[in-house]
Symmetry: C2
Subunit: 226 residues, 2 copies
DNA sequence: ACCCTACTCGTACTAAGTACGATCGTCAAG
DNA sequence: CTTGACGATCGTACTTAGTACGAGTAGGGT
C-alpha cells in the first residue's frame, strides 16, 4: 500500500491510482477519448505502459475512474434552495463541467458499475425531487427527462467544432457552401442569417430548454402532488 | 467465379457499398459498435477483410454510411399536420429507430461530413418550425432543445440493460442490493418501490418530456411570433 | 485471342491492450 | 552490514485490429 497520498497536486513520488486517473483526465481533455491509449497515458505520467497495470485493473477501470472524477466535479443540488433553483444550479454545473470534458457525455451513462461519486450524485438529485414533494413516479420521470436533456445538450455541444460563439464561421461556411441552395434552403437560411451572425452562441439554447422542462415539471408536480 | 462462393447462405452477387453498409448496420445492431471490426464485418458478408476496401474508403466511411442509413429510417415531420403533431411524430419515430440501433446515438452528432439523408432530415425539421411561423432564433433554439432531449433520451435508453419493462429486476436488484441503505435511501426507495414494480417502463417518460418541451415551445412561439 | 477493368484476396506492416516474468529499490530482521 | 522478501517498475512478446501493396482472376469489349 502506498503511504502518503495526501498531497493533491503532487507530480513526483510513486505512481498511485489517484495520479493515474487524474493524468487520464488531463490527457483525455487534451486529446480526446479516441486517441486515448495506455501508452500515451504512460508517456503523460512519465512511466512505461505496464507500470500502470499495477495500480488499475485495465483500461476500462481507468475510464470508470475518470468518469467518476467527472461526476465528482458536478455540484450537487444545493439543499438550501427551492427545488427548481437547486436543480437549475445542478444542471448548469453539469453543463459547465461537461464542456471541459467533451469526451465524457457518451460514457457517463454507459458505465454499469456505479462509482461512489456517481451514486452520491444520483442520490442527491433524487432527494431534491422527493423532498420537494414529487411522487415516486414523477421523480422517476423528472430524473429521466432532465438528464436526457442535459446529457443530450452536452453531447451536441461537445461535438461542435467551435465554442463560445467565435470561429464558427469557417466550419459552418465550409459545410453549407457546397450545398445546393434549392435543395436545402432552410438549412442555408438558418446558417447564413442566424448562426453566422455575430453574437450567436449555440449554448444560449440551454437555459431556454431547461426553463421549459423545469416549468413543466413544476406544473406537473402541483397538478398531482404526493 | 461470382456465384455462391461460400457455404453459408447469404445474399450473393458482387459486393456493393450498399451491401457493406447494410451488413454493417445488421452487425452493429447485433454486437454493438465497440466490438465492430472490419474483420467481423467481412465474416458477416462472407468475404475477406480487404475486399471491403474496394467499396468503401475505410472504417470511418462505413460508420458514416451506417449513420446515414439510420437517419434515413427516421420519419420526416409530416407536412400535412400542424407543427406540434408533426414534430411529435418525428421525435417518436426517432426514438423508435434509435431503440433498434443503440450504438447510433453517440455517433449521430459527431459526424462532421454531412450525408444526404442526414441533410434532408435536418432540412425537413427546420422547414417544419419555420413554416409554423417560428423566428430564425426560436427555430435554432427549438432545434437544439428538441434534439438534445431526443438524443439524450435515446442515449440513456440505449444503455439500459433491459427493454420494455421486463427483465429489469435482475440488474437493478444486483446494483442496488449491495448499497448501504443508510447512505442511498432515495436511490433504494426509487428502485424498490417504483422501478421494480410491475408495469414500470423507463420509456414512458419520453412522452411526458416531449410534451413539456413542445408545449413550452408553442408558448414561446405565440409569445414572440415571426 | 488480347487486354482492360472490376473485383477479390494473401501478405504484411503498424498500433494498441496486456500477460508473463525479470529487475530493482527499500527496509526489517538477523 | 548482510540478507531476503516484497512491491513497484519495466522489457519482451503475444494477440487483435486497421489497412497499404500488389498479385491473381473473371468477364467483356475489340
Amino acid at each position: 500500500m502506498t503511504a502518503a497520498p495526501t498531497a493533491s497536486g503532487r507530480t513526483d513520488g510513486p505512481l498511485t491510482k489517484e495520479r493515474v486517473l487524474r493524468g487520464g483526465l488531463a490527457l483525455a481533455d487534451r486529446i480526446g477519448i479516441e486517441p486515448f491509449t495506455i501508452r500515451r497515458l504512460a508517456a503523460e505520467l512519465g512511466v512505461k505502459p505496464m507500470t500502470i497495470y499495477h495500480h488499475v485493473a485495465g483500461k476500462e477501470a481507468i475510464i470508470d475512474g475518470m468518469v467518476d472524477l467527472v461526476f465528482a466535479e458536478i455540484d450537487l443540488p444545493p439543499t438550501d434552495l427551492d427545488w427548481r433553483s437547486a436543480m437549475q444550479h445542478r444542471c448548469r454545473s453539469a453543463r459547465a463541467v461537461l464542456r471541459h470534458h467533451p469526451w465524457a457525455p457518451p460514457l457517463m451513462e454507459s458505465r454499469t458499475t456505479p462509482s461512489p461519486h456517481t451514486l452520491r450524485h444520483h442520490e442527491a438529485v433524487l432527494a431534491c425531487f422527493r423532498e420537494a414533494g414529487f411522487s415516486l413516479a414523477l421523480t422517476a420521470h423528472a430524473y429521466a427527462i432532465v438528464d436526457s436533456y442535459v446529457y443530450g445538450f452536452a453531447l451536441q455541444e461537445a461535438h461542435l467544432p467551435f465554442h463560445g460563439g467565435e470561429a464558427i464561421g469557417d466550419l459552418a461556411e465550409a459545410i453549407v457552401a457546397p450545398l445546393p441552395a434549392d435543395e436545402y434552403p432552410r438549412l442555408i437560411e438558418l446558417t447564413r442569417d442566424h448562426v453566422l451572425q455575430p453574437g450567436y452562441d449555440f449554448g444560449d439554447s440551454f437555459e431556454l430548454g431547461l426553463d421549459l422542462l423545469l416549468d413543466g415539471l413544476a406544473a406537473a408536480a402541483s397538478a398531482a402532488p404526493a
